[in-house]
């Protein structure tokens, strides 16, 4: 039996997951990272993408947007703006959002607008990627 830790995944408007977990893989701002039980205390930033976690030997996936994590030896808390299960994603909407963002990126933008649009594009891409794996 693998060593487990308590995992809480919180979105702004819901508690997405709460329970014991064996392994967690998440996209950090500098690449993908994995967490097992008894990890050293760490604070990390979450970037838009897909997180995976294993409970009772079963892998589960979810698409997240920006946020952060608090990792302690016996618990992990994930905070994100939005979290969705792959089956909840509306591909058509994500595609439309992607196209809109790409369209905007072609125009002259202020730095702030550029950052906004890039973040939107990243979210849309993460959604599409997460949902496509499902099928």
């Amino acid at each position: 039996m693998a060593r487990t830790f308590r995992l809480d995944i919180l979105a702004v408007d819901k508690i997405f997951f709460g329970g014991d977990c064996e392994e967690l893989i998440f996209p950090s701002i500098d690449g993908s990272r994995g967490v097992l039980g008894g990890h050293e205390p760490m604070i990390c930033c979450l970037s838009a993408g897909e997180i995976q976690f294993r409970c009772n030997g079963q892998w589960q996936r979810a698409v997240v947007s920006e946020g952060f994590l608090e990792i302690m030896p016996d618990f992990v808390k994930v905070f994100a703006d939005s979290i969705e299960r792959p089956e909840e994603i509306d591909i058509a909407r994500a595609n439309a959002a992607k196209e809109r963002a790409e369209e905007r990126l072609r125009q002259q933008l202020s730095t702030k607008q550029y950052i906004h649009t890039q973040a939107a594009l990243k979210r849309a891409m993460a959604r599409i990627k997460g949902a496509n794996k499902q099928i």
Binding site: V12, E40, P41, I43, M72, F79
Partner: protein
């Protein structure tokens, strides 16, 4: 006593207004129900984020970061205090707007240089009329709080804070407590640890590492936290507004009912008096005829 026609008109105008207040009561109570449910769903995130930030600071070494830059070595009268004030977009909600504006004015009077960021048109109009330093490009509605709006607000104030145009940022909003609304203020920037409750915390773990670097983590984490906080504040304020409107409209409907009852009584009295007078006139007339 007023004449019958006048009273009748009065009754019909009061009952028309009662229809409006009653409709507004129903609308705001359904909006409140929705907002309450939303508040309940965001509450865990909100509570957890505060506890976690506290926990994070307990487990990190002290380091320098612009977000913690307290004081900035400026004398008090050179500092600029930024205030985000959350008011309603509409009136007819009892003392809600009045209370928050009065509270905000008392807070603003403490400092010499202030900059206001007002959410909701009632407050914006009020402070603009007063000639206060209101950011005119800061136009956000208080209706249906959304995350992207919280993000925009956060970006605006964070940028100004980091550029040094604001030295402190506070949020003034109305908090729901049981069934009453209480104006409160919380400090957003600079972060200081007293913000997160001062219960003596027993340190359980070793110092946490911040990956990839403390600066990078703080650059992401703090705006994220601020966004969460602002979002929670917007929802709480929206909830309070609906609650205030609901109570105000309920009591308006009740007093309209009382008024109608009183006016109906007056009307009946006037009617009776008119009948009595008519009878007296007829009887008097008949008697004088008889005498002849």
């Amino acid at each position: 006593m007023a004449n019958m026609r006048e009273i009748k008109e009065r009754i019909s105008s009061v009952s028309d207004i009662m229809k409006i207040t009653n409709a507004m009561y129903l609308i705001s109570s359904s909006k409140l129900k929705k907002a309450r449910a939303f508040l309940d769903r965001t509450a865990p995130y909100f509570d957890n984020i505060q506890a976690t930030i506290r926990h994070i600071f307990d487990h990190t070494e002290n380091f320098e970061h612009p977000f913690f830059d307290n004081g900035r070595k400026k004398p008090e009268d050179k500092k600029t205090y930024g205030y985000i004030i959350v008011t309603g977009d509409k009136g007819l909600c009892g003392a809600y707007n009045h209370n928050i504006i009065k509270y905000a004015e008392a807070e603003l009077a403490k400092h010499k240089n202030t900059a206001l960021f007002v959410v909701g048109s009632i407050g914006r109009a009020y402070f603009e009329r007063r000639g206060m330093n209101v950011d005119t490009e800061f136009l956000y509605t208080a209706q249906n709080p959304a995350l992207y709006r919280a993000r925009r607000i956060q970006e605006t104030v964070t940028e100004l804070f980091l550029r040094g145009q604001l030295d402190e940022v506070h949020i003034i909003f109305t908090k729901m407590e049981r069934n009453s609304e209480v104006p409160t203020s919380i400090k957003l920037f600079p972060l200081d640890l007293d913000l997160f409750g001062d219960e003596t915390y027993e340190k359980k773990y070793a110092d946490a590492v911040l990956e990839p670097s403390p600066e990078a983590v703080m650059d992401h984490l703090v705006p994220n936290y601020a966004k969460g906080l602002i979002f929670g504040v917007l929802i709480e304020a929206f909830c309070s507004e609906q609650n205030a409107r609901m109570t105000a409209m309920d009591s308006a409907t009740n007093s309209a009912k009382d008024m109608i009852a009183q006016l109906t009584l007056d009307y009946n009295r006037a009617r009776q008096a008119a009948i009595t007078q008519e009878i007296t006139e007829i009887v008097g007339g008949a008697r004088s005829l008889k005498r002849k």
